[in-house]
Symmetry: C2
Subunit: 481 residues, 2 copies
């Protein structure tokens, strides 16, 4: 795509300020509308070293309202992201709905560093497209600018910068110097731009030979893209849900005696203590998610699991309805915030599958939202496991009668009464609708890298042992034991 | 204090489980009450290596509701905290109101590592006491446990652990091995416990010779302390505000011509560009706070400042009323979250001084809350500057007539109308009350390490140049130029 760029446009410089001012007013108005409509905007700047992104962007930003956006750079991301899944930093820094992020260097730079210098986890261009699609599907506007520069001009600019500010003028980006091999990087950029120029997030390639022109072109494009973006409506999809029947085949009669339980519990817990230490030493993170009917025994199973773990190395994350801040982001955001550091374990008591269960059933997500969530979740889990995490997902299954028995037991026990709420009874009435959602979820999100384990939960002893056994098996498999 | 501890208590072991269960029920009830009352709880565990904190705490935690607390350890804090002010990690991980944090290792450990191994910023014991007092004043319950162990028992425990799990069993804490010099560390612990045993956050020293006993003693103490804490009422303070008159002495007649402004602006901005690069290379962070009357020109001054800065190295943080999540924490929390990394600059558009201005005037903070805030803020700023940050605080002063003129100009300009709200007019009516608060703030929080700069703002050119000049002076001073 780079060979098609006109590198010599011209604008009368005296008119420039006036045009910029007027664009500034339009952008201000657009930004306020973006905030009202809760449309988040992400602006990505990539380009050659020496293309003066700093000058171009900074001057431009003088015309924007500082309250509306934050500037980030993938080149400045902290050490805490080393070893984390590729998009972790970008997920965690995502703008809230109605806000704007300017990425001075983005996931494209991170990927290039990982690809060309090989220090970090990388992803495919297809994964980049999926990431962007997830966001634009969710109403994000993504504007991508590539600042192009000829080899001669690059040399000239770099020499000038060095003369003015010394060798360290771009201290943050010294890791990657594309001027050392213009031709090689030219090919990389070509490939990158072609592979990721999508309808939902197209590239704008801008000649950076002249700063004034570049600034004007980018600024005009930003203003027009946002004005247009606001006007766009998201298309609604309606598709009949598919009726799967996985849960019907579960045998809930399995039991374990108290003696066998006690004996095995101790054995499994000892085993797990050692395995945790080994996972920790080898810096392998684990994500363990628990889903299941109300009163299916999630809490009890989690306690038997954590009893074996060193508290320094795990965290239990209870997941309830998103709070007011979390609602300002894509549903995946809070889970990306919570994934474990290398060597650590995060246990989710309820998970991101709320998107295709409670949010689907209660109508908190639109049909097109929860329908595309299966693919989005598969992608997210793939990225986590690709980066080295062990992912364990439990569905704790009990039948309707067993749930009723447990509800009544809680109701009648003063110490346990707080555990049962009116909402639990209301959810129980929707058993059939939930069952349909669970069946579809189990089918559509069981993958090789992140399979569901359905746990027969009518007998608590059996269920707890199966949970422990499963975690042990998957840890051992990952450790090649 | 350690010499007074009885190291040989005894409890009948068969009764233990029953007692623990019943304590668990009481704790569960207390935790639910804590949540209702929004009283946050922090439990600190310190003690000798080999005192089996893991066993003691983990078994105990089985009886607690995992949803109510998170477990943290100062030994596990990430690299991103290196070079940050001492309490940054603890501030950022503070439990929200109504939640519970268990620190498996706390600021005491961090301080000991810094004092004895000298790798990080440290603070005095007095600063530790101030930190805890700020929290308990704000309704936090802080329970501190020290697990004591004799030298022989320590040797025995360590040998046993190593035999069972290999050399790396406490991989996270290998940095500091107090068993290598029992006598020396005994003295350190004595000093630490004595210096930080305060009425609002006393130490509980527990013999760890026998795990069962230790567990029972700690658990009983936690349950009783929380039950008692819930019952306690915070005492109200009422003190007449002092009437200071600083703003009366400001000469608002100062002006600068447009030509002089243009010339100096360019000169100052060039200077600042170089200084930023140097601050970045030397990893010195800067915090620049802007306060001032509505329409005093904060936005304009900030833009002239940032025009000179590389966008990679600074962030503008607009500060509005706290959102629903921020309201769940102490008022300082969101500012600790936002302080810059080494070498970076954070510019606050309005600051933590809202506590003693808008919160005081509008009654969002109780009198005892905003009255103790002066000291709390001085302490916070001292910690930031002690850790190496440059702190610049601006009060942009205009007079009543000038504000009226600017309000009317905004009102009559369709492009600027959005900038003026009914709230601005309402605030204007409270000018006198705000003025009293501002005067008191300027007097009580002007310190040598963090002085206020009052900027005469009636003439915008003059004000912007003074802001730039002040930042340049303070940066140069810090760089010993």
């Amino acid at each position: 795509m780079l060979d098609k760029i006109d590198m010599s446009r011209d604008v009368k410089k005296k008119e420039l300020n006036q045009i910029m001012e007027s664009l500034g007013e339009r952008l201000g108005a657009a930004q306020r509308k973006v905030r009202e409509q809760k449309r988040p905007v992400i602006i990505v700047f990539e380009g050659w070293r020496g293309s003066c992104r700093d000058l171009i962007i900074n001057t431009m930003m003088q015309y924007m309202d500082a309250r509306g956006f934050k500037v980030l750079s993938a080149a400045m991301k902290g050490d805490e992201y080393r070893g984390q899944p590729f998009f972790t930093y970008f997920w965690r820094e995502l703008p809230a709905k109605g806000n704007m992020d300017v990425f001075y260097r983005s996931w494209y730079y991170s990927k290039m560093v990982a690809d060309c210098i090989k220090r970090e986890n990388t992803v495919s261009f297809a994964a980049v497209n999926n990431f962007e699609k997830l966001l634009t599907d969710d109403g994000y506007l993504i504007l991508k600018y590539f600042l192009h520069l000829s080899e001669e001009k690059q040399k000239k600019n770099l020499a000038k910068k060095e003369k003015q500010f010394g060798k360290n003028w771009d201290i943050a980006e010294l890791a990657l110097d594309d001027s050392k091999d213009y031709e090689g990087y030219y090919k990389y950029y070509q490939k990158m731009l072609t592979a990721t120029d999508t309808a939902n997030a197209p590239w704008h390639i801008v000649s950076a030979e002249d700063h004034q022109n570049a600034r004007l072109e980018i600024y005009t494009s930003i203003v027009e893209s946002i004005e247009k973006g606001i006007a766009d409506k998201v298309v609604e999809v309606t598709e009949a849900p598919i009726d799967y029947k996985v849960l019907d085949n579960i045998d809930l009669q399995q039991t374990v005696s108290k003696d066998e339980y006690k004996e095995k519990l101790e054995k499994y817990q000892k085993k797990l203590t050692s395995l945790q230490l080994e996972m920790f030493s080898r810096k392998i993170p684990a994500i363990i998610g628990f889903e299941g009917w109300d009163a299916a025994g999630k809490g009890g199973a989690i306690r038997r699991l954590t009893a074996a773990l060193n508290p320094l190395g795990y965290l239990v994350r209870p997941v309830a309805a998103p709070n007011s801040v979390e609602r300002e982001y894509n549903y995946q955001w809070r889970f990306w915030k919570a994934i474990p550091k290398p060597g650590h374990i995060t246990i989710f008591d309820r998970t991101w599958y709320g998107r295709v269960m409670v949010e689907r059933v209660e109508g908190f997500a639109l049909p097109e939202e929860w329908q595309r969530a299966y693919e989005e979740i598969r992608e997210m889990e793939r990225q986590w496991t690709d980066a080295g995490a062990v992912l364990v997902k439990f569905w704790l299954q009990i039948d309707r009668q067993e749930q009723l028995r447990r509800f009544e037991e809680r109701q009648n026990n003063p110490v346990k009464q707080w555990k049962i709420t009116d909402e639990d009874w209301r959810n129980r009435e929707k058993w059939d609708v939930y069952e349909r959602a669970v069946n579809e979820m189990l089918v559509r999100t069981s993958t090789e890298y992140a399979p569901w384990t359905v746990v027969e939960g009518n007998n608590k002893y059996y269920a707890r042992l199966k949970v422990l056994q499963t975690v042990i098996d998957l840890f051992e498999k990952r450790l090649n034991k």
